[in-house]
Amino acid sequence: MQIPLVDYLVLDNGPYLQANECEGCGARFFGRRNACAKCGGREFNSVRVSDTGTLRTFSIVYRAAPTIPTPYVSAIVQTDDGTSVRSNLINVAPDPGKITLGMKVKLDTYVVGTDDDGQEAVAFGYAPA
């Protein structure tokens, strides 16, 4: 049995990311919403976010809380439909020489942990396309 790391990662018929899109202005948000930060609208639709995009920025993180494995590559990806997503860059060496700003990337998932009931948590990241 699998459970997504966060509720905006959809595993059924996926995997894909699901955003709340403001009916009024089209601004997209992940996670629970009260109202729109751009226009104040209160109605949202669930939309599927594009799986592909480009690397907007990154950092190779060496210093983190003790339980967090390092180094890892933190990234902001701009998807092909214009949505910003934060995640790790995966399947790439943590080496600035191997990572190019603007490179094409694609959504991918992996098991990040297993609980005492045998349930697997599934995380997402972006890998070079």
Partner: protein, 400 residues
């Protein structure tokens, strides 16, 4: 501005580690120093504002009163991330503008000890996964869905600038830290006063590429305070008080307006640009008029992008700005001659007041070895993630 407001007195403790003092001691030292410097007493104050972040619920302002004088005046305890000190200043400025006070005391203080890395959560492995919080997360997401750590977040802000502009990379960011460490050797109030070569900066342990250890501000302890006075009361002060006073030509606080990427990566640019533009308009000055700038270099990557955000360089030209030495103390626009947060230190609540102290000290011609000669106009900038940005522009009094 409704009426002119002046910095009458200013003081800061050296930044560093104070294991034998508490935050009340540090705040008291700064407060008494500022009162003495302005030639006034706590009995003259109509309002007190005290900024601290990690002890925000401690009633710090009242604790200071109990050391220096319980006169019954209103106290406003404020916290606003790294813009806490600037917010304390602005609270007093707004009270004077509103006509509720003639004289006020603004204090910023922080005692952090060796807190280490700020933000970035430890991951708790739950025995049974259950979605919780606004994102329905089954475990901590820091380090899985990118980074929450400050060196990493600001690294990404810098690398985004590198993505959008030519001539910006690891070396340009490192040059910023090389400069600020060099500047700090002239500032006896700086937490660290040691110069490093560019190779040493780039070769120190990597925290979050491209920020190495020497490109990150330390945690630390310290306090700063300013006594502010409105123009009516200013007119009745002595000639000596008036000539040393520094005029606040602009005081602005902004938050981050909506941008598409803002929910994923804190936008530290737009609110700084907005604050700078409003401040230049209030003061009726241009960036090229500035004698010196103290800006929020929590990380070297941050300083570089704020050259652009504050209009110190051409749009997109921050890499060339540092490459040609423009922000060095003998350059076109000296930036962080105090050593900046990177080397002077960053006791969070104190920082936004200490920056104003630094600029005021230069405008008074009292900055000793690090004095920027002929300084007559300066800008102090802070930014707190979340986000808030404070910008103050200060002007030499011109009264002799």
């Amino acid at each position: 501005m409704a009426q002119d407001i002046w910095v009458l007195g200013a003081h800061m403790t050296a930044f560093g580690r104070y294991p034998d003092q508490d935050a009340v001691d540090l705040a008291t030292t700064a407060a008494l120093g500022a009162l003495d410097d302005g030639g006034v007493t706590i009995s003259d104050m109509d309002i007190l504002s005290c900024g601290t972040l990690f002890q925000a619920n401690s009633g710090m302002g009242q604790q200071v009163q109990k050391q220096i004088g319980q006169t019954g005046i209103p106290v406003y305890n404020v916290s606003n991330a790294c813009a806490t000190g600037a917010t304390a200043l602005r609270t007093v400025i707004m009270a004077i503008r509103a006509g509720e006070a003639d004289l006020g005391l603004a204090i910023g203080v922080e005692q952090m000890g060796k807190m280490g890395l700020l933000a970035g959560g430890a991951r708790k492995e739950k025995n049974v996964y259950e979605p919780s919080g606004r994102y329905g997360a089954v475990m901590g997401i820091d380090g899985i869905l990118g980074t929450d750590t400050m060196p990493g977040v600001f690294a990404q802000a810098g690398m985004e600038y590198a993505n959008d502009n030519d001539g910006v990379g690891f070396e340009q960011f490192a040059k910023v830290a090389q400069k600020n460490h060099a500047h700090s050797t002239l500032n006896p109030l700086a937490q660290y006063q040691k110069e490093f070569t560019l190779e040493e900066v780039m070769g120190s342990p990597m925290q979050s590429y491209p920020n190495t250890l020497l490109m990150c501000c330390p945690t630390g302890d310290g306090a700063a305070a300013c006594v502010l006075v409105g123009e009516e009361r200013f007119a009745s002060l002595s000639r000596e008080q008036q000539s040393r006073a520094v005029k606040i030509s602009a005081s602005v606080l902004t938050t981050d307006p909506y941008v598409e990427s803002g929910q994923m990566q804190p936008d530290v640019n737009t609110l700084t640009r907005n604050a700078a533009q409003a401040a230049y308009e209030q003061a009726g000055v241009s960036p090229e008029d500035l004698s010196l700038v103290e800006l929020h270099d929590c990380f070297a990557t941050a300083e570089l992008i704020h050259y652009d955000n504050l209009g110190l360089c051409e749009r997109g030209g921050a890499g060339d700005f540092i490459d040609r030495g423009a922000p060095w103390r003998d350059g076109e626009t000296p930036v962080n001659v105090s050593g900046g947060l990177i080397s002077k230190g960053h006791p969070i609540g104190a920082t936004g007041v200490a920056n104003v102290y630094e600029v005021a000290t230069h405008l008074r011609g009292e900055a000793g070895d690090r004095q920027v000669e002929g300084a007559n106009l300066g800008l102090a900038h802070v930014i707190g993630l979340g986000s808030s940005c404070g910008v103050h522009i200060l002007e030499k009094s011109g009264i002799s």
